[in-house]
């Protein structure tokens, strides 16, 4: 098992129970989609699997190691083998795309090489190849602030492709793209995963995309797994229960306004 979660619970600081006892086993090379209504805990689950967040209780095992029992340095080394695509790619607006993509390998590079890479990109062909797979080869030297939301998402994916992790987690990786591009991008991800025997777990908004591209589907609702079954066995009723009474308003994302207050003298 490359990913295993036992009775995983996650309690956010704002009092929300994001995950309430999730059991999950994912084998090497599997491709899994997580679907569910907004606020079901999809992002929380992916962050837990990426070892980005520590479960409030429960046991997590990733690549045969228990990340929260490791010293910080070894945990960082383990994290370098896991890639997470964020829904809103956290890229500084004033960073060049080439730097943003090359940053994928920071976990594998020494500090010296990382800083040198800021002065002059050390692996321009590598970054160009990763971007070219997502049809963004021409944006290599553009600034992140010049790109649209969908293009930024593809830069985020290119970063993780360049990182070449053993586990690839993707949190709504195609939410800002049109349906055709979304399908194309997902097939690139699953091709990459198949070619390199990478475990792929993605949360998706669009059920049709999930059913079309992933052999295994996990339905998440209210922080619990409602069903976990092969894609061909997912029935209309299962989906109806999953999305029943879904509140139409999407949860407000807690983004505190940045207050810049700097004393000047």
């Amino acid at each position: 098992m490359t990913l295993s979660l036992k009775q995983g619970r996650l309690h956010h600081a704002n009092g929300v129970d994001a995950l309430r006892g999730v059991d999950l086993q994912i084998a090497v090379g599997e491709q899994v989609a997580i679907i569910g209504p907004s606020g079901a805990g999809k992002s929380s689950l992916l962050n837990l699997l990426a070892t980005a967040l520590r479960p409030s209780s429960g046991e997590i095992e990733v690549l045969g190691e228990r990340p929260w029992h490791l010293p910080a340095r070894q945990r960082q080394r383990l994290r370098a083998r896991i890639g997470l695509v964020h829904q809103a790619p956290p890229l500084p607006p004033r960073q060049r795309v080439v730097t943003a993509v090359l940053a994928g390998k920071l976990g594998q590079w020494s500090v010296g090489k990382s800083l040198l890479n800021l002065l002059h990109p050390t692996d321009i062909p590598g970054a160009r190849a990763a971007l070219a797979r997502l049809d963004l080869g021409d944006k290599l030297f553009a600034y992140c602030q010049q790109l649209s939301g969908g293009q930024l998402q593809r830069v985020g994916i290119a970063r993780v492709l360049y990182q070449a992790p053993e586990i690839l987690l993707a949190d709504e990786p195609v939410s800002a793209m049109d349906p055709v591009l979304a399908g194309h991008t997902l097939s690139i991800l699953s091709q990459h995963a198949r070619a390199h025997n990478v475990t792929l777990v993605a949360s998706l908004h669009a059920v049709e995309l999930a059913l079309a591209h992933f052999p295994r589907i996990i339905g998440l609702r209210d922080g619990q797994i409602l069903f976990d079954s092969p894609a061909e066995q997912v029935s209309r009723e299962m989906l109806d229960t999953l999305y029943a009474n879904e509140q139409l308003q999407s949860p407000t994302t807690p983004s505190a306004p940045l207050i810049v207050q700097i004393p000047r003298c």
Partner: protein, 275 residues
């Protein structure tokens, strides 16, 4: 007088606040022994008038200009060397003191662990200590230790400004979007690399403009410290004031104006290049 339809409900609080402000300011004026009447006395007016009338024409003979050039260069050198020394201490201290580089904060939704917070305190304390003593006091101290001359000014600026720069840098790092750096640390990168890739691109312009502004302040501070014998333009102004050479004072004040103007333009140029 005030009919019901022209009444403003905010009028009474405003009047009250104004009265309160005056009531608070009055003792302040008394305590600082401010008496503007002194300026209107005829003898002080003629005294000031004589001094100011000497401002024109500013001194511009060859020997004085040479002296002025030397003093100006010395002032610039004091400010620049002081800032360079201050940066040596301020940059590492700000990186340690800032919560932006906390590895534990990345996986605890932005709140560092208790141990991390505990370890940041001594550094914050050091920065507070360094900047709480005014540079003029350090200058007086160093004039006794290393003797009259620019070295005392350089050391005084280095110490006070490292405290200020360190504190403000740390706050600038924290005031920007933390998600890029957190995402990098969650993908296994080290703190320094996460800082360089996740935070620095966002704050570079702000850091630069603050540093240039501080350099400008250091120029001014080095002039003030000149009065206690730390070299540069200040020492020259002090000498000229004592000799009632108002023309020389005028030239030096003009030089001063040009220096600050130059710093301002430099900051604008650098900001324009970076944004």
């Amino acid at each position: 007088m005030l009919t019901a339809d022209s009444r403003d409900p905010a009028a009474a609080p405003r009047l009250l606040l104004t009265l309160l402000a005056i009531a608070l300011l009055w003792p302040g004026i008394q305590l600082s022994e401010l008496d503007l009447g002194v300026l209107l006395h005829s003898d002080s007016q003629t005294e000031m008038g004589r001094f100011i009338s000497g401002f024109w024409p500013p001194a511009h003979d060859h020997d004085f200009l040479q002296l002025l050039l030397k003093a100006t260069l010395q002032t610039l050198a004091i400010a620049t060397a002081g800032m360079a020394l201050a940066l040596l201490l301020a940059v590492p201290a700000s990186l340690i003191a800032s919560r932006a580089l906390s590895l534990s904060a990345a996986s605890r939704s932005g709140i560092p662990s208790r141990l991390g917070r505990l370890l940041r305190w001594p550094v914050r304390g050091l920065l507070i200590f360094l900047r709480s003593v005014p540079e003029i006091v350090w200058a007086l101290l160093f004039v006794r230790a290393v003797g009259l001359g620019p070295a005392a000014g350089v050391l005084a600026i280095a110490i006070t400004y490292s405290g200020m720069l360190g504190k403000v840098y740390a706050e600038i790092f924290e005031s920007t979007d933390q998600r890029p750096a957190h995402a990098l640390m969650q993908a296994g990168s080290g703190r320094l690399a996460a800082f360089a890739y996740g935070i620095l691109p966002n704050v570079a312009a702000e850091l630069l403009s603050y540093t240039v502004y501080r350099w400008e302040c250091a120029i001014r501070a080095s002039v003030v410290m000149g009065f206690v014998g730390a070299g540069g333009l200040g020492q020259q102004i002090d000498l000229s004031l004592r000799m009632f050479a108002s023309g020389e004072v005028a030239s030096m004040l003009l030089t001063f104006l040009i220096l600050v103007l130059g710093a301002d333009q430099l900051s604008r140029l650098l900001r324009w290049r970076l944004t």
